[in-house]
């Protein structure tokens, strides 16, 4: 309780400090270079100066914070990836050499590619199907809310939910995990799903797909509604059936949005960490890059060099999407 009070006090202090900063700097600027009440050259000169300085006052705190928490660390991580575990001695590319020869790292890369292949595709696919179906029924919004709900659940919470579904009891005793109960009901024998190498990756992916489908659905649903009615009417008049309209008229018009959803989920997949940590912690050949990186950060007192090298690999995988995003944003800015 005391701690919460402390939090609320600091929060109030933080907000007040922000207000004071913005208000104060602005006031000082107007005092040094006044433009009100003055006329002629001085006024216009002062106005020009304040207009030059003011954006930087507005941007200041955000830029400082972004620099400390994102820009500097990216540079530092790259620098550290060429150094030894304490970050002191330059070791060239030996961290990366170690990586290529490390079985666990190769396993992680392999698993990450599996995740990249399956999760964005499956989540986008389900999102699209659900968006298209729910647009046609009167209780579609309720259905959407329920499917969107896992978005709010933490990865760890979702892991517990699914671990319960995958729960395994030895053959003969009553299964309390839904999946094994179903398998037994259909005459199969129960499995400890998490310990099946290769396949356990897919059982972990299900969790992320379950969470992300709602995201894909919401965005694709908005895109589907944005399709001009005339194009669909024209297709109906030409005698197209429902499936043809969906695949030949509607999908091509929302390619851009599908790409956005796909890349967004792709980035999330590259960073997936909580699920693997909570479900298997990388055992049974289910390791992924983000969890491996976390592992090396603290393993044996922490190997910052190798940890940073793995982070750099994740970063390199993200860069193509980053460039694509920046290009799109720039294009849109020009259009304004």
């Amino acid at each position: 309780m005391q701690q919460l009070l402390f939090a609320i006090t600091t929060m109030a202090a933080g907000v007040l400090a922000c207000v004071a900063y913005f208000y104060g700097t602005n006031w000082i600027l107007d005092r040094i270079f006044p433009s009100k009440g003055l006329t002629g050259k001085v006024a216009s000169r002062n106005l020009r100066i304040t207009n030059t300085i003011r954006p930087w006052l507005f941007l200041g705190p955000a830029m400082v914070s972004l620099t400390i928490y994102l820009i500097y660390p990216v540079i530092e991580s790259v620098w550290l990836s060429f150094h030894d575990k304490s970050g002191q001695t330059f070791v060239g590319i030996s961290n990366f050499k170690w990586m290529i020869n490390d079985g666990e790292f190769r396993q992680s890369i392999y698993n990450n590619f599996l995740w990249l292949l399956v999760v964005p595709a499956a989540a986008t696919f389900f999102g699209l199907i659900i968006a298209a179906l729910t647009d046609r029924i009167w209780w579609g919004n309720i259905a959407k809310t329920l499917i969107f709900m896992p978005m709010a659940i933490s990865f760890v919470g979702a892991s517990v939910i699914w671990k319960f579904i995958y729960d395994f009891r030895p053959e003969g005793s009553e299964q309390i995990g839904l999946l094994n109960a179903l398998v037994v009901a259909f005459g199969g024998s129960p499995e400890a799903w998490m310990t099946l190498p290769f396949w356990n990756n897919f059982f972990l992916m299900v969790i992320l797909i379950w969470i992300q489908t709602g995201f894909a659905m919401v965005i694709l649903s908005a895109a589907l509604r944005g399709i001009p009615e005339e194009t669909i009417e024209a297709a109906v008049i030409d005698g197209a059936n429902g499936l043809q309209i969906f695949f030949k008229i509607m999908i091509p018009q929302i390619w851009g949005t599908i790409a956005v959803v796909w890349t967004t989920i792709t980035i999330l997949v590259l960073k997936v960490f909580d699920i693997v940590l909570a479900m298997t912690n990388g055992q049974w050949q289910s390791q992924v890059l983000a969890n491996l990186m976390f592992d090396w950060m603290f393993r044996g007192g922490g190997d910052f060099g190798r940890g940073a090298a793995i982070a750099v690999v994740i970063m390199v995988l993200v860069i193509p999407i980053m460039i694509w995003n920046i290009r799109n944003a720039a294009k849109e800015m020009e259009g304004r």
Binding site: Q3, L4, A7, V15, C18, F22, D30, P55, L59, P61, M63, S65, Y69, L70, P73, V74, I129, L133, I137, A143, I147, M149, A152, S154, F155, V156, G157, I161, W162, F164, Q175, L178, A181, W210, V218, I219, E233, G242, I245, T257, V261, T263, I267, L270, K271, F273, L277, A278, A290, M293, F294, M297, I310, I314, M315, V318, N325, I326, A329, E332
Partner: protein
């Protein structure tokens, strides 16, 4: 849609949506139902059987010889196997772990040393012996009982008290609330500058923000850990503090905040600002009096995102707040419980539900803003 209204397949659509909704809600429903079940029932039967009577194999230890009473020249120990439980029905019993179901209720089992055990269907039992019984440890009685469904909040009470969930709940609130509120103003000012002020380098700054949107958190962890350790040592304070994690969450949340708010503000009509400027208002006045109130929907969207993200975060909390028992947030506590109480589903389900209830409430009450934020954040720019 015109085509679907006429389609005979409309029932197929209804059915498949019902199926999909079930697929997406059943996992959570199972968790909630399980967390409310009696822990003995939870351990032996699936949650989908929660409403039916379950059959359990249980063990009862009868009172020791000091509880015997002499009756008609015989020595008797009696009691009820099902004591403490409201109702139930014994369907079989035994006195040996190899044959726990050897006898039917009402039958009498001969124990090895001349004692006789009788168990009735309602759970009452009698151990009768002709001579006085000895030994302080009572006879073990194995029995199979049909126990009616029972729901309880005991699991919740237990995790709040004994498993540290209550303390972690406070920790999570402590992390999430300031981390949500503090960045809003900082981001709003920056977003306004990027949307409506003219200065050299604006386009580059916007590109940088868009680029930073996707930078993996993993890149920041090690350098910031080193930085925090350095600052902590320099100032003589602990490296892992709430202030540290608030600032970290602010830094990581800023790109999205600036991006969302900039997109929203850039879409506001130019005329409002120009007429205000003609009236002699400065950028500061315009921002505080016009833009900020108008941007409320975008601010709300971001606040919800940031709250969900900081509440649900595990990685940042583990690195910057540590994994000590006092500083664990809910997600971290849950991971620990998964390790230490992996089989105790009554603890895991109740703890998990406590961790997800706050985001779910936020989600259901403010879903409108969440959807709006998602659309602004992804469709427009991306």
């Amino acid at each position: 849609m015109i085509a679907s209204a006429r389609s005979p397949l409309v029932w197929v659509v209804h059915l498949s949506v019902i199926l999909l909704v079930l697929l997406w809600t059943l996992p959570t429903a199972g968790l909630l139902i399980s967390s409310l079940r009696d822990k003995d029932q939870l351990a032996v039967s699936g949650w989908w059987t929660a409403l039916s009577t379950s059959t359990q194999s249980l063990v009862y230890r009868a009172p020791g010889a000091d509880k015997q009473v002499e009756k008609d020249g015989k020595f008797v120990i009696s009691g009820n196997l099902l004591e403490g439980q409201s109702t139930g029905l014994v369907s079989a019993f035994g006195f040996n772990s190899r044959e726990p179901t050897a006898f039917q209720p009402g039958q009498t089992a001969d124990l090895s040393d001349g004692e006789r055990l009788t168990v009735q269907a309602d759970g009452t039992f009698e151990i009768v012996s002709d001579k006085g019984m000895e030994g302080t440890r009572g006879q073990r009685i194995f029995y199979t009982a049909a126990v009616p469904p029972r729901f309880t909040i005991d699991n919740y009470i237990e995790v709040m008290r004994a498993e540290g969930i209550g303390a972690s709940f406070i920790n999570s609130l402590t992390v999430a609330i300031p981390s949500t509120i503090i960045p809003i103003l900082v981001a709003a000012f920056a977003a306004y500058a990027l949307a409506w002020m003219k200065f050299p380098g604006r386009a580059i700054l916007i590109a940088v923000v868009v680029g930073l949107l996707v930078v993996p958190l993993q890149m920041s962890l090690i350098p910031l850990l080193k930085l925090y350790n350095g600052v902590g040592a320099f100032l003589g304070v602990p490296a892992k503090t709430y202030v540290g994690i608030w600032l970290a969450h602010m830094g990581f949340g800023l790109p999205l905040a600036i991006y969302l708010l900039r997109n929203y503000m850039a879409g506001l009509p130019r005329e409002i600002m120009e007429s205000a400027r003609v009236d002699g208002a400065s950028d500061f006045d315009i921002f505080v009096k016009i833009i900020l109130p108008l941007s409320f929907p975008a601010l709300a969207s971001f606040a919800i995102f940031q709250f969900l993200w900081t509440w649900n975060d595990l990685l940042v909390a583990m690195v910057f707040l540590g994994t000590g028992n006092d500083s664990l947030v809910l997600t971290g506590r849950l991971v620990n419980l998964l390790g230490s109480r992996g089989g105790n589903w009554e603890i895991l389900t109740a703890s998990a539900f406590i961790t997800i209830i706050v985001p779910l409430i936020v989600f259901f009450s403010l879903q409108r803003y969440l959807v709006r934020g998602l659309l602004a954040g992804s469709v427009k720019g991306g």
